[in-house]
């Protein structure tokens, strides 16, 4: 029975090691095959880790450089911009100079109101009025405008695709759930 197995493997892998024979060949070939499998698996793991690393760290880094802002991605966590932006959407933010901001732009600004010290909040609303030192925004779904925002608090403008902001539906739900968990 054992000899059958050896000869079977011997013929199967004879091209790998044709100088040896018998039991020794069997163990040698088996070890080589096992090592080859392990190396193959390790190679796969390295490739997967590289892909995940590129997505998790590389993509935000690339977007930060490309869009010129430290906050290139934002998740929509409220319905104040409905129906243009939906809860769970992911939008891309690009840096914008003060002189390029226009009425009608959807901008992101830093909003620390009502948040504990050290925590950052962001508001994504549409610009309704521009003045020398501040601007005023309002959510499309809201009836009242926000408090005036200083230009230095503006982080950027949503990246547009035609007339509408470029949005990736459902991809922002991770942030929505994280916000819900924090609130609970």
């Amino acid at each position: 029975m054992r000899n059958e197995k050896i000869s079977e493997i011997y013929f199967e892998y004879s091209d790998l090691c044709c100088d040896c024979g018998g039991d020794r060949l069997w163990f040698t070939v088996l070890l080589n095959e096992k090592t080859r499998h392990e190396l193959s698996h390790r190679g796969d793991i390295v490739i997967y880790a590289a892909i995940v690393g590129a997505i998790v760290y590389g993509l935000p880094y690339y977007l930060t450089k490309k869009l010129g802002t430290n906050y290139p991605i934002a998740a929509i966590t409220s319905g104040s911009m409905w129906p243009v932006l939906h809860i769970g959407d992911l939008v891309l933010i690009q840096k914008i100079a003060k002189e390029d901001i226009k009425v009608g732009d959807i901008i992101v600004w830093q909003n620390a109101k009502g948040l504990p010290a050290g925590r950052q909040g962001f508001t994504i609303h549409r610009v309704t009025k521009l003045s020398e030192k501040t601007l005023v925004t309002k959510g499309d779904g809201n009836f009242t405008a926000d408090e005036p925002v200083r230009y230095e608090d503006v982080l950027g403008r949503t990246l547009m695709r035609g007339k509408d902001p470029l949005r990736i539906p459902y991809m922002g739900y991770i942030s929505v759930w994280a916000a819900l968990l924090r609130a609970n």
Partner: protein
């Protein structure tokens, strides 16, 4: 002939494959039962022009929020009862265009045996709602047996 093929197919399967096949069938039946047993409601709301206007369409078969003008809201309630002797995990899933405007007071909770609870659905019409539009959706209330704590 078919029986013979089936028998051969089953006999040809390894023990592990048989266990996996049985487990998959049980999981499928479990999911099928939960989907079949779920409470399903159609949700709808109609946007009307004006300020503070609300029209009500009383019905128990649908979650009909009636006619709402921007700035107004309507609430619909669903009573849920666990008539079994094991706790049930209740999960509410809503889909459709009404989804963005609908808030649910509790989207998942555990209902003890013989206990009752109320799920509250609120639709608020924002300023940007398109006049004369009808927003619809589906609401599913899944009840999953939860014998563990």
């Amino acid at each position: 002939m078919d029986d013979e093929v089936k028998q051969n197919f089953w006999q040809k399967m390894k023990r592990g494959e048989k266990i996996l096949a049985v487990a998959l069938v049980i999981v499928f039946l479990f999911v099928f039962y939960i989907a079949l047993d779920a409470n399903k409601y159609q949700a709808t709301v109609h946007v009307i022009e004006g300020e503070g206007k609300v029209g009500v369409n009383p019905t128990t078969e649908r979650l009909d929020f009636g006619d709402l003008s921007p700035g107004t809201s309507a609430i619909r309630r669903v009573d849920i009862e666990n008539g079994t002797s094991i706790p049930m995990y209740v999960a509410v899933v809503n889909l459709g265009s009404i989804n963005d405007l609908m808030k649910i007071n509790k989207s998942s909770f555990t209902l003890s045996p013989d206990a009752k609870d109320v799920i509250e659905f609120t639709v608020y019409m924002p300023a940007s709602a398109p006049i004369d539009a009808t927003l619809t959706g589906r609401v599913f209330i899944f009840k999953i047996p939860k014998p563990w704590k």
